[in-house]
Symmetry: C2
Subunit: 386 residues, 2 copies
Amino acid sequence: MVGGGQLARMTQPAAIALGVRFTVLAGSTDEAAARAVPSSMVADEKSLDDLRAFAAGCDVLTFDHEQVPFGHLRTLAAEGVVVRPGPDALLHAQDKGVMRSRLTRVGIPVPRYAVVSAPDDVRAFAAELVGSREAAPPADGSDLAVPVVLKTTRGGYDGKGVWVVTSLAHAGEPFRAGAPVLAEELVAFRRELSAVVARSPSGQAVAYPVVESVQRDGVCVEVVAPAPGLPDDLAVEAQRIALTVAVELDVVGVLAVELFETVDGRILVNELAMRPHNTGHWTIDGAVTSQFENHLRAVLDLPLGSPAALAPYAVMVNVLGGDAPDVYFAYRHCMARDPALKIHWYGKELRPGRKVGHVTVCGDDVDDLRDRARHAAAHLRGDIDE
Amino acid sequence: MVGGGQLARMTQPAAIALGVRFTVLAGSTDEAAARAVPSSMVADEKSLDDLRAFAAGCDVLTFDHEQVPFGHLRTLAAEGVVVRPGPDALLHAQDKGVMRSRLTRVGIPVPRYAVVSAPDDVRAFAAELVGSREAAPPADGSDLAVPVVLKTTRGGYDGKGVWVVTSLAHAGEPFRAGAPVLAEELVAFRRELSAVVARSPSGQAVAYPVVESVQRDGVCVEVVAPAPGLPDDLAVEAQRIALTVAVELDVVGVLAVELFETVDGRILVNELAMRPHNTGHWTIDGAVTSQFENHLRAVLDLPLGSPAALAPYAVMVNVLGGDAPDVYFAYRHCMARDPALKIHWYGKELRPGRKVGHVTVCGDDVDDLRDRARHAAAHLRGDIDE
C-alpha cells in the first residue's frame, strides 16, 4: 500500500487476520503506518523509481490516498505491475473535473457544474444557474447572481481546495494553482451521506449500510451508521449509485461515494474516494467485515466479506489534535467512563485540527451513542467542557 | 511481549488501535508475530542477557507463553523491570504442582492430586483414590486400583506431558524428565469449560462469558461461547473461581482458567494460563473488547474494556495443519461459501497437527454456527469429506 497514514495503519490488522504479507511505502519512519507495519519502505511516492522499487516486492499495489502521480501509475501498469484500483479508475478520484464529466455521461446525478479556467467564467456560470433554477437574491456586496462553489480539480482534501464565493473579488484564489477549476451550484442539502462499497476484479461487489456524515470546516467529524431516518428508497438509491459508479469506472477495492441528500429529497454525488474512507471507519467495530479487510480482499481478488452491521447503530467521531493539557489522562478517563468505547489512536504527533484518532460506539440508542462518542472525542481533543 | 507465536501476533491489532508501541522478542524472523510486528527482536528467550536487552526498550514486559525461566523473571523484576504478570504469579502457570497446592490452600476446588516422585507413589495414590471414592474395577492388565492421570509439573502444553495410565508398567515415562510428577484422579466430566478474566495492577477485573472447550488428543479444537445450556449458578461459580484465582495469585493481565464440569455438577480447576488463551480467541470477533486488547490494557494498568458478547453465540474452531493439497483454494472456498466467516491465519508453516489458524462465526443458532465453523476448519485442513 502506497501511503503511510492512518488508512494504511488500520489495514494492517486486517492483513494480520487474513495472513496477507502487507507492507507500506511511507514518507518517513514516524508516519502512522510505518509504526505498525514491519518492513515498510521509506521512500518518495512521487518518484517513479521509488514506486518501481517498492512495487518489485509486491504482488498487488494499492493506495491509502489519491496523490500518486497519474503518469507514474500508468507507467507502472504498462510495465506489468498489478495496480488496483487501476490508473484509469483512480483518475476519477484525482481529478474532480474528469469525475463530474464521466458521472454525468453515465447518468449519475451530480450538482450542476462547469469546469472553468478564469474568474469571468464563474460569473457566467452563476448567471446560468439562475436562469435554470430558483435562487436567493444576491447578498449585500455580491456581484454573482448566486453563490458558487469553486474547487481545484486536483489535490484538494479535508476542505482544502474548496471555496464558496459570492463575489468575483474572491474568485481568483482557486485559479492560482494554475489548474482548471470546478464551479458548482451550492446544493441545498438536508445532510451529507456516504455510500461505501467494495468491488473485486472479478466483479463481485458488496455495499455497506449508507451512513450520515457530519462535516465541520470541510472535515468529516462524525458518522452515524446507518443514516438515521433515511427512507429505504433513498438508501437503496445511494447504494445503487455507488455500485453503478464502481462498475462504470471499473473500480477495484473500496469506493466511498460522498453524497448530498437534498432538501427536495434527491441524492447527488459530491466526491469519490477509491480507498478505505473516513466514513467507513465504523466498520472496524460495527460490521462483520471492516472496510479495510474488504479492501484487501478486493484488491487480492478474494471473495468479499459480509458488510452487515453488528448492531442497530454505530457512531464514529474523529479525534482532532487539540490542546488537551494531558492527553494520556483523557485517554484513561474515556476508557474508565465507557468500557464499551472503542478507541483508535493513530500514533501521530498531535497538531491542532489534525486527525489523530477516532472513537466508535455501537448499540441501540443512537442519541446515547452520539453523546458518548462526542464526549470521548471532545475529552481527547482537550475540550472538556463539551 | 516475549514470544513470537500467534498470541503475540494477535496482540498487534489491539496495540495498533490503542496506539501502544508494541514489540516482541521472537525466536526467529519467520515466527508468526515477527511477521506482523515492526522492530521485533530476534533473540533467545532462555538467555537472561537477551531478555535484559529486550526489556531495556520496554516499559512493561509480558508474555505469550509460560516457558521463560522463572529465575530469569525473578532477576529481571529485582533489577527493576516491570514484569506483568509478575514472576510469583507466573510460577503457578509454570508449575502444576505449585498451582494445585496453592489453589487447594485458598479453597479452590481441584481434582484430587498428589505430587509424586517415583512410579511406586502412583500405586499408593491410586489406592488412596479408591479408599475415598467409588471407582470402576481395574481393566484387564491393570495393576492400579483406578486409572490415574500423570502430568509433568513443568513444560507440558497441548496434551504433551500428560498420560492416563492404568498400569505401573506405563507409569515410568513421565518421570524420565527428572522433574516431579503430578498424579491426579481421572475426573468424570460432562465437558470442559474455560473462564477467561483480565485483571489490572490496580485490581480492576472483568470476566468474559464462560465457554465450552472441546479438546481432541489434548489439543483445544473448538470453543462455544457461551457454553450452551450451562446453568447460571455454574457459570457464576466458574467466573467466581477465575476471579478468585486472579486475586489470590495476584495475576495481572489475562488469566484463563480451564475447568471440568463434572458429571455430578461440580466445577473443578484443570489448568491455568496467564496470557491470552485459545479459549478466548472468539473475543476478537465476538466481544466488545478482545482478550488481546484487555491483556494490553491490564498490563499497562489502563481501565479494562467491556467483555460483553456481540451476539448470542460465537463458535471458534482451530485450523490444524493437515494435508490440504491446495490451501489457497480452500481459503477462497471458505470465504466464498460463508461471507460472515472470520478467518485468522497465523502465517506459520503448515505442519500436521500444528495450530496454523482459526475461524470464528457469530450469530443466534449455535448448531448452524458449529456446522459452518467446522466445515471451514475441515476444508482448510484438507479434510474435505467432513
